[in-house]
């Protein structure tokens, strides 16, 4: 009986030791890669992952390894390499769930690179694969993020309605959809009537004042020349210098309003993304 007690554990331990060595031996570049990755040495991690793939190009863990390479490249800011590796990860994924996960990571990288439509395409592919609920929710969430970056508030609202019910988020979306947008055409008309008025309308007081003074002086010189009957001077001042600044003032008024509108939308989008972050953190 005593012999049994001693022999069984010893033999079992020996057996598991052999099995353990085999497993560790095969996957050591992956372990080392993960170790380097966790240390933040992404370049060394990529080398180890690539080493594994070189010796086991068709291994069941190839997809996961490509994914890790993609993530390491992403951490390094090598976006093109990250996208290429993540696409390879999608191709080598061993099952549908893993494929969806890789597509989600790919979408994140694409969205971070401002390839919003390409990112959403990957997310649509994920939702079409009937993934698990958490993956589906993440796909919806990322689609909403892409829409928010594109200032497409209604589509973002639709996506988020399937993701979460948050009153503050709804209010922010409502505000974003109704964010006050100024008319570039109206700014042009204003600056045509009173130089600088369009800039003031866009909230650029200093630029407006500058345009008013500059155009005022040049206009005065032109009118003064006419009143003094120096018509050649008037034509030269009015037809060249004044007209150039006057047209520039109208153009800049339009640009100022466009910038203003963009800034407003960006603010709304930042507020939304911040709230989304809070919602995610609280879940």
């Amino acid at each position: 009986m005593n012999l049994k007690r001693v022999v069984f554990p010893v033999l079992t331990a020996t057996l598991s030791l052999f099995c353990g060595f085999a497993a560790i031996g095969e996957e050591s570049p992956l372990f080392l890669g993960s170790y380097f990755f966790n240390l933040g040495n992404y370049d060394a991690a990529i080398t180890e992952y690539k080493r594994f793939l070189f010796f086991h190009p068709e291994a069941p863990r190839a997809g996961e390894t490509y994914r890790n390479i993609g993530l390491a490249h992403r951490e390094q800011g090598d976006w093109q390499e990250a996208i290429a590796a993540m696409r390879a990860a999608v191709q080598h994924a061993s099952n549908r769930e893993e494929k969806s996960e890789c597509q989600l990571e790919l979408a994140v990288i694409l969205i971070a690179n401002q390839h919003y439509d390409l990112g959403r395409l990957e997310l649509i592919k994920v939702t079409m694969q009937n993934p698990s609920t958490p993956l589906n929710r993440r796909a919806l969430f990322l689609q909403a993020v892409a829409f928010i970056y594109q200032f497409r508030w209604d589509e973002a609202r639709e996506m988020l309605s399937n993701y979460t019910r948050d009153e503050k988020l709804d209010t922010l979306l409502e505000n974003a959809a109704n964010v006050p947008q100024k008319s570039p055409r109206f700014a042009k008309v204003l600056s045509a009537i009173v130089p600088g008025a369009g800039q003031v309308y866009a909230g650029k007081w200093r630029h407006g004042l500058n345009a008013l003074v500059l155009n005022g002086v040049l206009g005065y010189l032109t009118v003064d020349a006419v009143l003094d009957r120096h018509y050649l001077d008037a034509v030269l001042w009015g037809g060249t210098v004044f007209s150039r600044y006057y047209r520039g003032n109208i153009f800049r008024a339009e640009e100022a309003v466009k910038r203003f509108n963009l800034q407003q939308s960006r603010r709304a989008s930042e507020a939304l993304l911040q709230r989304l972050q809070e919602v995610v953190d609280s879940q």
Partner: protein
């Protein structure tokens, strides 16, 4: 009895697993496997990572290998780390002065300078190293590189002389390239150019004329208009109020500045014209390095 049977099964399983393990276990970091992986990375164009693996191979191998040292330097060169490549090739030449790859290393150092657009340095290096390059192919390729450096420095006649001589080279590839580059150098000598001095003189006589000479009609009209307008205003001021006219002095000073700027700008414009013509011509040059 039962225990003995169980022991047998366990031992048999362990033995089988150990055999299977021995067959399947892969030593990823054995020198041979590291070298294979490095070669793979090199083939994939992942040169800098390959360089690291070749270094790892040298460490594990614990044996000097001129071929691997050379490959590391080449990886740096191909990976765009030209300065590091030069240093590594120099170390290689210091360690293995009699290696067969020394010819190539000299050539690659010069190529690295060339790729860094240090054309003068590339020529200087090869001028000094040419006597040490015994291999006919690398010697011809090095002469070709000197010619290309001359072309890049817009020294058309020097380049033409070199490529003229290389048309008789024993190396077929260099001979073919030489014919192409010779024609190129010939065209280079016939590129249109503008004299900065003449451009300045023309603009002194008629504001904007120098710009017209360099093909900038818009700038020419602007110069003529600006100088004339401010000059006219100065004249008008002095005519009306005499020498005490503030308008006259203000516009006179402005006109003087524009006039001087117009002359200086015309001379610069001629230089820019020449540089643009040469750069545009050089942009059509397709450089194919032999090694």
């Amino acid at each position: 009895m039962q225990l003995r049977r169980f022991t047998r099964i366990i031992l048999l399983s362990a033995a089988l697993l150990s055999v299977a393990d021995a067959e399947e276990r892969l030593d990823y970091y054995s020198p041979d496997n590291v070298h294979k992986f490095a070669d793979f990375l090199y083939e994939q164009g992942d040169y800098l990572r390959a360089a690291g693996e070749y270094q790892r191979y040298l460490f594990y191998q614990n044996r000097e290998s001129d071929r691997t040292h050379y490959r590391i330097a080449l990886c740096y060169r191909l990976g765009g780390k030209s300065e590091k490549a030069i240093r590594t090739f120099e170390t290689f030449l210091h360690r293995f002065p009699d290696s067969q790859l020394a010819n190539s290393a000299h050539y690659q150092i010069s190529v690295s300078y060339f790729l860094m657009e240090q054309f003068r340095q590339s020529v200087n290096y090869l001028d000094a190293a040419l006597s040490r390059i015994a291999d006919v192919r690398y010697r011809a390729a090095s002469q070709e590189l000197i010619g290309l450096s001359d072309l890049m420095q817009k020294q058309w006649l020097e380049a033409d002389n070199i490529f003229n001589g290389l048309q008789e080279s024993d190396v077929a590839e260099v001979r073919e390239n030489a014919t192409l580059y010779h024609n190129y150098a010939m065209q280079g000598t016939q590129l249109p150019s503008r004299s900065p001095f003449l451009a300045g003189i023309l603009s002194t006589i008629i504001p904007g004329a120098g710009r017209l000479y360099t093909g900038h009609i818009g700038d020419a009209l602007t110069s003529l208009f600006t100088v004339s307008l401010t000059g006219w205003q100065a004249y008008d001021g002095f005519r009306r109020d005499g020498l005490s006219s503030a308008k006259g002095w203000a516009f006179g000073a402005l006109s003087g500045i524009f006039y001087a700027g117009n002359i200086y700008g015309s001379a610069i414009s001629a230089r820019v014209y020449n540089r643009n013509v040469e750069d545009e011509f050089l942009a059509t040059l397709s450089i194919k390095l032999s090694y």
